[in-house]
Structures are given as structure tokens and as C-alpha cells.
């Protein structure tokens, strides 16, 4: 990714909890106008990295977010960024209308009118007490609050957990069609990778605290090659040391980092590797063979 007009620049970034490194010497750059998927298994360091991005954990190395040091300039940074650390964390004692009023006083770029407009698309009523909302409705309320912030960077940690598929789809459509304007960037972590793959422009993959991939989806399509093939040529495919072998409709496929040898290419048909397959390939031991599952 280009460093021109980067919203986030991280160099040799590490976060420790005692002796454990939750984020381990990672470097990446996020330009403006991108939708970045942050992928990783549970405990891979996604939440810690997001907290470091908004100055809630101390990080070693160099980190600049919107041109600021997140730890030292957390308040100024959060004036220009919005962040969902988790779902179902709104204060339960407050009514939604009062929360909107408070947000209007606490965030300089928050639009109460916009949040009310977004809430009208949901089943959440302004007079509802947060504690009485279902988990899904609480998520809808939180998303409506955050999406009403005129920020340059949105950081979302599993934002749609607990939402039904229609609400998730509606949120992502709103995010892409209404919030993203080519200048703003979104960093989103989720386990529902298939749902957001089409929305992403870039992907960061973490595995045990290490960054195993930082790439745009255009480059990903160019770099990684998947070949679907018949079972009869499985041994030849395996001999070419693919990153991953997995099942696809009507047969098997092998995923390669870079172009496979020509004689191997002739044995199969090139297909587009999915983000999930790539995620599995890069975050599991390559010798594992998913065709056996």
C-alpha cells in the first residue's frame, strides 16, 4: 500500500501483556479511502491492534494514526475517528434519546439528526431504555451512533456480532453507500469474512500477533492463484507445494502463492481464491490438507 496520504502508519509495532506479545513487530500502512478487513483467529491480536490504533493500549515501535501519536493524543485522535470496541457495551441505564443528546455533547463531529435518521431504519425507538433492548437492537443503536460521526477513520471490532443477516446487510450497505466517500477509511474486524469480502479494498491478516498478509484485493487476485482440479491429478498438485488444498464444488483446488509451475497450471483451471481460503492458508500450518475434512 502507498504511504502517500496514509491515515495509519505502523512500523515495527508490538504490544506486550507481560511476557506475551499480543502484537508482534508488525508494519503496515493504510491509505485514505480504503475499506480494510482485519482478519485473524481468536487471540490473533486484532482487538489489541485496534486498541493501539486509538490509544487505549501502549505500543512499542512507531505508530501514527491521522498524523497523531494515539497514546499521547488519544482525545484529539478520537475527535477525528470513531471506534466500536465491542458489541452490547452501551450503558444500560440510559434511554436512546438521552444517549444521542450526550453523544452530541461529547463528540464534536457527531450529528444527532443523522443518528436519529439511521435509527428510524431500525426497530429501535428513541424512548427505549438501552437495558431493555435485545442484543441485536443494542448493536443497531451503537452502529447508528457511530455511523453518525463525521470521522476520517472508522475502526470497528466485530461490529455486527448478534445482528441478523438482514441487519448486517443493511449496515454494510449504509457503510459503503453513505459513510464511505473516497476520503474516509474503515478498518473492520469480523469473523463473517464471506459477507464483507465484496466490500473490502484491502486486507490485513494477523496470526499469533504477526502480520502474515497486508495487501489490496486487486494485488491479492494477481498474487495468489487457485487451481481447481480433478482428483486424478491431486498428487501432482500436492507435489507443487501449494499453500492449501481444499474442496470446491465438483472437485478439489490448490492455492499457490505466485504462479505455479506451467506443467501444474495445465493440470487445472484457474479460479479466484476466496478470502476465507487464503485466510485458512496463511493462518494454518501449510502441511494441513483441508480436503480431508
Amino acid at each position: 500500500m502507498s504511504t502517500d496520504q496514509a491515515l495509519v502508519q505502523a512500523q515495527h509495532l508490538s504490544v506486550r501483556y507481560g511476557a506475551r506479545r499480543a502484537v508482534d513487530d508488525i508494519s503496515f500502512t493504510l491509505p485514505k479511502g480504503r475499506v480494510v478487513g482485519l482478519l485473524g483467529h481468536n487471540g490473533a491480536g486484532k482487538t489489541t491492534l485496534m486498541k493501539a490504533l486509538v490509544g487505549l493500549v501502549k505500543a512499542e515501535g512507531q505508530l501514527s494514526v491521522l498524523g497523531r501519536d494515539p497514546l499521547r493524543e488519544r482525545v484529539a485522535l478520537l475527535n477525528e475517528a470513531c471506534y466500536i470496541p465491542d458489541v452490547a457495551i452501551l450503558p444500560r441505564w440510559i434511554r436512546v434519546a438521552d444517549l444521542i443528546r450526550l453523544m452530541g455533547g461529547l463528540h464534536p463531529r457527531f450529528s444527532a439528526e443523522r443518528s436519529r435518521e439511521l435509527l428510524r431504519r431500525t426497530s429501535v425507538d428513541l424512548t427505549d431504555k438501552v437495558g431493555k433492548l435485545s442484543k441485536g437492537m443494542m448493536v443497531q443503536a451503537h452502529l447508528a451512533l457511530i455511523a453518525a460521526i463525521d470521522a476520517r477513520l472508522m475502526i470497528l471490532d466485530e461490529p455486527t456480532l448478534g445482528l441478523d443477516v438482514l441487519s448486517r446487510k443493511a449496515f454494510y450497505e449504509m457503510l459503503i453507500d453513505e459513510w464511505c466517500d473516497g476520503e474516509r477509511s474503515v478498518v473492520i474486524s469480523t469473523h463473517q469474512v464471506e459477507e464483507i469480502e465484496a466490500l473490502l479494498s484491502d486486507v490485513l491478516m494477523l496470526n499469533e500477533g504477526k502480520l502474515v498478509l497486508s495487501i489490496s484485493l486487486e494485488d491479492m487476485d494477481r498474487r495468489f492463484v487457485a487451481l481447481s482440479h480433478d482428483a486424478a491429478v491431486a498428487d501432482e498438485m500436492a507435489a507443487a507445494h501449494p499453500l492449501l488444498r481444499y474442496r470446491v464444488a465438483g472437485g478439489s483446488a490448490a492455492l499457490f502463492d505466485g504462479a505455479p509451475p506451467e506443467h501444474v497450471q495445465a493440470l487445472g483451471r484457474r479460479v479466484r481464491p476466496s478470502l476465507v481460503d487464503l485466510f485458512v492458508a496463511l493462518t494454518r500450518k501449510p502441511e494441513l490438507d483441508r480436503t480431508q475434512f
Partner: protein, 309 residues
């Protein structure tokens, strides 16, 4: 954007029903009791015989006493409630995990802690004093009306009476700020103890101070710990009222109107005496200690954000 007012508003939204309940129920009960119970005010004239007071000249004293009682009652109730609420300040948003939501907003850790302290230690008790004063005014109507007849209440010297009541209220409000300075080290230490040790904070603090004081006294002959705590509390009390060493000197046959006229002067002198007491190494040390506790609380909150990851 200044987050102080919104953070105050947050306290109001979160605690308004409890505050209303704590203010209105005691006043309502007092009004009911004065309205329907048998009421009589007596003076022990010879150490044995209680003589009922019905002299109309005492009506201003009854009225002022009602207002003082109303203010005092609400002040004590809401101040104690505020202390209980504020003692759990550091962990109060952890139960529903909303602390993560609050920390995702552009508000500094110090501001997030300081504003509730201001609200609960100063503004709520101050409001309690003023509401109690207004409630006491209603109580005075009932008390004077039942003991001497309501006509006496309407003929009270309201100018002198309200002047005296406002002078006392102003003295108490100013004293509240000064008293808060004196008890700040103890309050912040309690909040910090509750942050570090959860529900055991108060127990450990009391036991720690008790044992520490006992050890220092018995082993070294220096009851410094208990002396410090006692001096802070005594000075806080004096800062609130009575800093000049006692109440007003009222002659046996003083006219109530004259006494009321002396109240503003006494209140001013008492406040000046309370101000003079601020020039104390104990207070300076206490405030330094309180600032240290506050810094540790801010650090604890910051580390809490990390620990939640």
C-alpha cells in the same frame, strides 16, 4: 468542545431518580409528621420541668430552625449517598462493560474522573442544601402554624429571616467547598482502594488505618495515622461551620429579631476563620496526597483499557 457539561448531564441522567427520591421522601415525611402528629416545642427551664413555648416572639427562631433542619437533613442524606456513589467511581461502568463505550469517546481519563467528583462532592450536596432550605421554609409554615397559629407565620420578619437563612446557606455552600478540600485525601484514597481491591477496598482501608494507627501508637508512641485522619475530619467539620470556635453568642433575653440580624455577620466571620484554617501544612500535604491518588486513579483507568483487550 468542552465535555464537562455533558459529563455532568450524564451524572444527572444516571442518578436523577435516586436524588429526587432521597430529597423528596424525607421532606415529604417531615411535612406529614408535622402536619398530623402531635407537635409541641418545649424548653427545660429548671432542669426538671419542660415548659411549652408558644410565645409568638419565638416564631422566627422556629422558622429559622425549620429551614436549618431541612437543609441539614437533606445535606446529610445526599452527602452520604454521594460518598457511597463516588466511592465506586473507578469501577462503576465495569459491570455492564460500558466503560469501553465511554473510553471510545474523545474524553480524557482525568476529565472522566474529575467531573463526577465535582458533581457528587460539591454540586449535589450544594443542591441538597438549597432544596432543603426551600423545604424547610414549607416546614416552618407547618410548625409555626401548628404551635402558634398560621397567622404568626405570615407576620414573621421575612426580611431578617431570609437574610439570616441566606447568610447561613452561603456560609454552608462556601464551607462545603472548603470541607471537600479537607476530606479529599480520604475520599480519593477510598476510591483508589475500591479501584484496586473492589469491594474489599473500604474494609482494607479501615483495617489498614486502624492497624496502622495502633501499631504507630503502641510501637513508636506516635499516633500519627489516627491523628491525621481525625484532624482532617475535624477540620472538614469546622470548614463547614463553626470555624470561629463556636456558634453565635446569644443573650438570654435577646430579641429574636436582633439575633437574626447578627447571623450574617457571624456567618461571614466564621467563613473568614475557615479560610484562615486553610493555611495549614496538613491541608497542603493532604491535597498533595489527594493529587497523587487522583493520578493513580487516572493511571488505573488507562491500564484498565489495556487490560480489557
Amino acid at each position: 468542545m468542552n465535555p464537562i457539561l455533558p459529563l455532568m448531564q450524564r451524572e444527572w441522567l444516571q442518578h436523577r431518580f435516586a436524588w429526587a427520591l432521597l430529597a423528596l421522601v424525607p421532606l415529604g415525611l417531615a411535612l406529614l409528621a408535622l402536619s398530623f402528629a402531635q407537635v409541641g416545642v418545649g424548653v427545660d427551664v429548671d432542669g426538671d420541668t419542660i415548659t411549652e413555648v408558644t410565645d409568638a416572639r419565638m416564631a422566627p427562631v422556629f422558622a429559622l430552625g425549620s429551614m436549618a433542619a431541612g437543609s441539614g437533613l437533606l445535606f446529610v442524606i445526599l452527602w452520604v449517598a454521594s460518598l457511597i456513589i463516588i466511592s465506586g467511581l473507578a469501577r462503576r461502568d465495569h459491570g455492564d462493560r460500558s466503560v469501553e463505550f465511554w473510553m471510545s469517546l474523545p474524553v480524557g481519563h482525568g476529565t472522566s474522573l474529575a467531573v463526577p467528583l465535582l458533581v457528587h462532592l460539591i454540586l449535589v450536596p450544594a443542591a441538597a442544601l438549597l432544596i432543603g432550605l426551600a423545604g424547610g421554609w414549607l416546614l416552618s409554615a407547618v410548625l409555626v402554624g401548628r404551635v402558634m397559629g398560621i397567622a404568626e407565620w405570615f407576620t414573621l420578619p421575612w426580611g431578617a429571616l431570609l437574610g439570616a437563612a441566606l447568610a447561613v446557606a452561603a456560609r454552608l455552600l462556601a464551607g462545603l467547598v472548603l470541607a471537600t478540600l479537607w476530606i479529599a485525601p480520604l475520599v480519593l484514597l477510598l476510591i483508589l482502594a475500591n479501584a484496586w481491591f473492589r469491594r474489599w477496598g473500604l474494609v482494607l482501608l479501615v483495617v489498614g488505618i486502624g492497624i496502622g494507627g495502633w501499631v504507630m501508637d503502641r510501637a513508636f508512641g506516635q499516633p500519627i495515622v489516627t491523628d491525621l485522619v481525625r484532624d482532617l475530619l475535624v477540620n472538614a467539620g469546622r470548614a463547614l461551620a463553626g470555624a470561629s470556635g463556636g456558634g453565635m453568642v446569644i443573650g438570654k433575653d435577646s430579641e429574636p429579631d436582633l439575633v437574626l440580624g447578627q447571623v450574617p455577620g457571624w456567618a461571614w466571620q466564621d467563613f473568614v476563620a475557615a479560610l484562615r484554617q486553610l493555611a495549614s501544612p496538613l491541608l497542603a500535604g493532604g491535597l498533595l496526597f489527594a493529587a497523587g491518588c487522583f493520578a493513580l486513579l487516572v493511571d488505573w483507568r488507562r491500564r484498565g483499557a489495556s487490560a480489557a483487550a
